[in-house]
Amino acid sequence: MEALLFNVDSGFLEGTVRGYKAGILTQSHYTNLTQCESLEDFRTQLSATDYGNFLANESLPISTATIADKATQILVDQFKYLRNNAVEPLSKFLDYVTYAYMIDNVILLITGTLHERDTHELIERCHPLGIFESMPALCVASNVEELYQSVLVETPLAPYFRDCLSASDLDDLNIEIIRNTVYKAYLEDFYAFCGSLSGPTADVMQRILSFEADRRTVNITINSFNTELSKEERAKLFPAIGRLFPEGNNQLAKADEIDQVRLVCENVGEYRQFFADTGSSTNGPGDEDSGVLSQLEDRFFQTEVHLNKMAFLQQFQYGVFYAYMKLKEQEIRNITWIAECIAQNAKDRIQDFIPIF
């Protein structure tokens, strides 16, 4: 059915996004980039790719931040082009993609205001895709109730925040709880929305979103060890979707150390290798844990990239749009990492990026 009618509304945009995807840097590009001696080399090298002359008019000492900003700007322009040409339900789908950035921005602003940072500086640091009109007014609020009543109520995020109005004061822990509750609500909503689209979109997107949910669950669990977060509260933060749900989530809610997390993850085939070669040497919990964690993070990213790449294998579905955004974000992270390594002359760690193609 999709094969028959999909292209009527979304064929052009799918073609466009697949064209964009062809511009994602490949392994050989990365090899060339890692050989650069300076950021000017880096610029020359990037100008041979789809990025083109995006840095040509920057005056010379280029900062890593500029590179990241300009690259993000390209992505944002592409996304806006897609969004402006989309019709229902794709436009709704693309809106859902922006909600994640909006949540991030909201949290960023609240945290920033809490630490009394300058509002304009904070707004500049916000992701351009997640900016909404009344966003700057967020910094006025001093508690969640006010936040919700004055600003968020008119945004699409309102339903997500409804669940966490109970948290009264804004402090670091509460913000973290808000972030996770909101994100949980967002993920579940997005999951349900994708399910309503049915067909291949649901298949592809729910696979990706399940992983996203599981990743959050695992991260929340690990990060809440040795904090004042009670186990019941922790359980509330877990998204009610994903492959670990429900029994994995239940076990994770009771977990006290990383080994228990591993046991849970090993129940799912694809997640088994997350902790694969780290388990053997768990004698010193201190340093070892952080090593395990950073490795875990990398593996999460790798799996994400893998899943997003898989999304391109299927046609006539919206997953490609989501996957493209995620892959491109990963690419910008990679570029920034390499640029940072070059700028700080840390050649030994330059290979620690996650190649996409």
Binding site: N32, Q35, C36, E40, D41, T44, Q45, A48, A56, N57, S59, L60, T119, H120, I123, E133, S134, P136, A137, L138, C139, V140, E146, Q149, S150, V151, V153, E154
Partner: protein, 844 residues
């Protein structure tokens, strides 16, 4: 045969040359060769990253310089008053070759940097001043608007007071807002407020957010500022509003301020006291005046700076562009540190080697060293690029053919013949003396004003016409000729000689029959046909047959162009297996038709014993019932026999064409296998190319630069003459040719159709507009005649000359590309793209 003088028949003979350039003269050499523009350099280090090449440092520096130059030109473009830019041909040239080249570049770099610094500094201060001015203007607006507002409030206050005093009417009668309002003013403005400006698009959001923050107790007033604010740097316009918000209590005020600031509003401290307000308004205005003076001065000094930049901008752009090209070319060279030389390889026209050598010597002298670059020719099996030397006359015609496909190296170039055939076929469709004359004059004007027009930017559409001015000239000339043949001038006929027909006007009958008076009209169509009832019948039959005759001649000619190719490339098999059967096939069917047409024209059918036969039916029955011809429609004696023979000949040609070449290829392959040769690479072509290329590599290694040449050997391109491929190719070719012969002949009928349409259209135009008013009697008729005349002329130019001309042009193009080129053109070449400084996009 074209060794002494450049001709268009075949593309220029090319040689692969190797240059050994000492590093000191490398830059100047490339500069000299770039001016000369006839060397196409090969990339000798294709595996090296762009930033690992030898001259990256220089390129980076040039990039930086070109960024500065781009910065200047955007600055100049953004300036509202036009800054004059001195064109390149007026500027003093910057010399970037010779011993002082490095110094010149350093100086230029310095100058550019200095200008940039000054300009950015001025921009910054201009911007800062602009922003301050903007703020002051906004402050003034806020002051004024709030003053209006407070004044109104004052009035209200007194109103309310009186009303309160006079009647004891409760305040509740007033609406809510006014209520609040009066309470505020009544308390002598102890209700505090926030005033400022905000962008107009944000006002609704701002209001909404405030409304929610203040829990619905919002009293806000805002008015539009009429004039937009223009950003001094980007030139973008923003429109703003003045707002004033009343609230009570410090907490709320801070909240409002915070919201306002975070929403991008600018707040201004306004005093509630009217005197203080007018005082600060005066102060603001005074400061504003001062600032505007300073701003004006900064602006004018910035402008002076830009004018200074504008004087040199073009020459800087030119130098930067050339230098970048030079270093990019140098990056293609192989760099040998040990021997302090650069090794370059490239294609040059063999004829130009002497010129290039002279240029090399000149470059050495310029740079003031004594070590000249060394040039020597290499032996190669690679296919050289195709280079047709054109002049401004042939350029257009060659482009027409090149846009279909670039000819293979040294193949017969159809562009040469297009010089005549193209305008001729166009004119057959466009034949009219008047219209031909109009486009001829237009082309002549463009040619005479060539120098002036070439320098100005004509835009895309007019530029196209200008580029094809010589084509248009010939098209006009040929149209005049064919117009004479058709005896058509703006759909009327010329009566120059004595017509062969007399029309005895006896007036009794509606129909007057022409009487042959024994004269013969010596050139073109007899004007007696004009206006005759059977004019269309006669002209139709005449033009239709003529287009078939012209078409078959054109195709035969195109087919014959195969022959020089086969002879030149020593492919005798193709002559026997392709050319001869194709020729026989074409001639035995369509050549025969042409002969019949000509014969039929030469017979006086009024005296013949048989009826004139229909040639179309004759051709059809030749296939359907071979050997049988109705005696009443017989064209000549012995016709059935001749037709059977011709049909058999054509029938034989098909298998001949289909089988011979694959068979010969198969036999050849068999012979090689029998002799015991086995191909090393497993692709059984065995024509020795591999051995040769390895020889070539050895030879290169003897000269001590094996690396560069070994690569060249690797990318040797030759088609795999697989047997299966030969068969498939030949099958396709046969089908294409045989079916093509029929459809292409029919396709030439477009000559007839378009020519007829053109003649009819111009006649319709004449009768619909001008004809009725040709004999004016009164003033009114004269006026109508003039109006109609202008109307007629306009339509003639736009519809008949431009639109019909374009349509005829397209059809002529198609006849060349499809009907003629498919008979002989291989078109597998790649164009010669030499390093040249002449940039077509770079106009003043």
């Amino acid at each position: 045969m074209s060794d002494d003088y450049p001709s268009l028949l075949r593309s220029e003979q090319m040689s692969l040359v190797q240059l050994f350039v000492p590093t000191e003269v490398a830059h100047d050499t490339v500069a000299e060769l770039g001016e000369l523009g006839n060397v196409q350099f090969k990339d000798l280090n294709p595996n090296v990253n762009p930033f690992q090449r030898s001259f990256v440092g220089e390129i980076r520096r040039i990039d930086e310089m070109s960024r500065r130059v781009r910065f200047f030109s955007t600055q100049i473009e953004q300036e509202k008053d036009v800054v004059p830019i001195r064109p390149l041909y007026d500027s003093a040239p910057l010399i970037t070759v010779g011993p002082r080249a490095a110094q010149t570049m350093d100086e230029l770099d310095g100058v550019l940097a200095a200008h940039e610094q000054r300009l950015t500094q001025m921009n910054e201060s201009y911007q800062k001043l602009g922003e301050r001015t903007k703020e002051l203007i906004e402050a003034r607006h806020v002051l004024r608007e709030t003053a209006v507002f407070f004044d109104k409030a004052q009035d209200h206050q007194t109103d309310i007071r009186t009303s309160y005093d006079d009647s004891a009417a409760p305040l509740l009668q007033h609406d809510d807002r006014e209520n609040q309002y009066s309470a505020g003013t009544g308390a002598q403005f102890d209700l505090e407020f926030v005033a400022g400006t905000i962008e107009r698009v944000r006002v609704p959001t701002f209001e909404r957010v405030l409304w929610r923050v203040l829990r619905g107790n919002l009293y806000m007033n805002h008015t539009d500022i009429v004039e937009p604010f223009v950003d001094p740097v980007t030139g973008a316009e923003t429109r703003k509003n003045v707002f004033i918000i009343f609230a009570h209590g410090d907490a709320l005020l801070t909240k409002i301020r915070k919201v306002a600031e975070s929403m991008g509003a600018t707040l201004y401290p306004i005093d509630a006291n009217a005197d203080k307000r007018s005082e600060s308004l005066r102060e603001v205005e005074g400061r504003l005046e001062d600032l505007q003076n300073v701003l004006y001065n900064t602006g004018s000094s910035r402008r002076t700076e830009l004018i200074k930049v504008g004087e040199n901008l073009r020459s800087w752009q030119d130098v930067v562009r050339k230098e970048k090209l030079i270093y990019e070319t140098l990056n293609l060279f192989n760099y040998d540190v040990r021997r302090k030389t650069l090794i370059a390889e490239g294609w040059v026209p063999t004829r130009d080697i002497t010129t290039i050598q002279l240029a090399l010597r000149h470059a050495t002298e310029e740079s003031g060293t004594s070590v000249p670059p060394i040039l020597h020719e290499l032996r190669t099996h690679k296919t050289p690029p195709t280079f047709n030397r054109t002049n401004k006359f042939t350029e257009g015609f060659q482009t027409i053919m090149d846009s279909y496909g670039v000819a293979s190296y040294q193949e017969v170039n159809p562009g040469l013949f297009a010089v005549i055939t193209f305008p001729f076929l166009f004119a057959v469709m466009f034949g009219d003396i008047g219209h031909g004359f109009i486009i001829f004059v237009a082309a002549l004007y463009m040619i005479l004003a060539e120098r002036k027009l070439a320098r100005t930017d004509l835009g895309e559409i007019v530029g196209q016409f200008f580029y094809g001015r010589y084509i248009i000239l010939l098209m006009g000339l040929f149209s005049i000729y064919t117009g004479l043949m058709y005896n058509d001038i703006f759909s009327k006929s010329l009566h120059i000689w004595h017509s062969a027909w007399d029309f005895p006007g006896n007036g009794t009958d509606n129909k007057i029959v022409g009487v042959d008076n024994g004269h013969r009209y010596p050139f073109g169509l007899d004007p007696g046909w004009h206006g005759a009832d059977n004019n269309l019948v006669f002209v139709n039959s005449y033009k239709m047959k003529m287009s078939v005759v012209l078409g078959v001649i054109h195709m035969t000619f195109a087919l014959c162009l195969q022959l020089p190719n086969h002879l030149k490339f020593k492919r005798p098999i193709d002559v026997y297996a392709n050319f001869i059967p194709q020729m026989i096939f074409l001639q035995s069917i369509f050549g025969y038709l042409v002969v019949c047409i000509l014969y039929k024209w030469s017979v006086d059918w009024s005296k013949a014993s048989t009826q004139p036969p229909s040639l179309l039916n004759m051709l059809i029955s030749m296939f359907l019932s071979p050997g049988k011809v109705d005696p009443s429609e017989q064209l000549y004696a012995g016709q059935p026999f001749v037709q059977v023979v011709l049909l058999l000949l054509a029938a034989i040609c098909v298998p001949w064409l289909l089988i011979t070449k694959p068979y010969l290829a198969w036999k050849d392959m068999h012979k090689i296998k029998e002799q015991g040769y086995v191909s090393i690479a497993g692709n059984g072509d065995g024509n020795g190319i591999h051995r040769d290329s390895s020889d070539y590599v050895l030879e290169g290694e003897e000269e001590g630069n094996g690396g560069a040449i070994a690569e060249a050997g690797d990318e040797e391109e030759h088609e795999e003459h697989d047997f299966g491929e030969v068969v498939i190719h030949q099958v396709i070719h046969t089908i294409e040719f045989c079916l093509g012969c029929i459809s292409h002949t029919a396709s030439y009928l477009r000559l007839w159709a378009l020519s007829l349409a053109h003649a009819q259209l111009s006649e319709v135009l004449w009768t619909m507009t001008l004809e009725a008013w040709l004999e004016p009697t009164g003033v009114f008729e004269w006026i109508v005649l003039i109006v109609m005349g202008v109307f007629w002329f306009g339509l003639t130019v736009f519809i008949l000359c431009l639109m019909e001309g374009l349509s005829a042009f397209l059809h002529a193009l198609r006849l060349h590309w499809v009907e003629a080129n498919s008979k002989h053109f291989e078109g597998g070449g790649h164009a010669f793209t030499p390093l040249t400084f002449a940039d077509p996009d770079f106009k003043d």
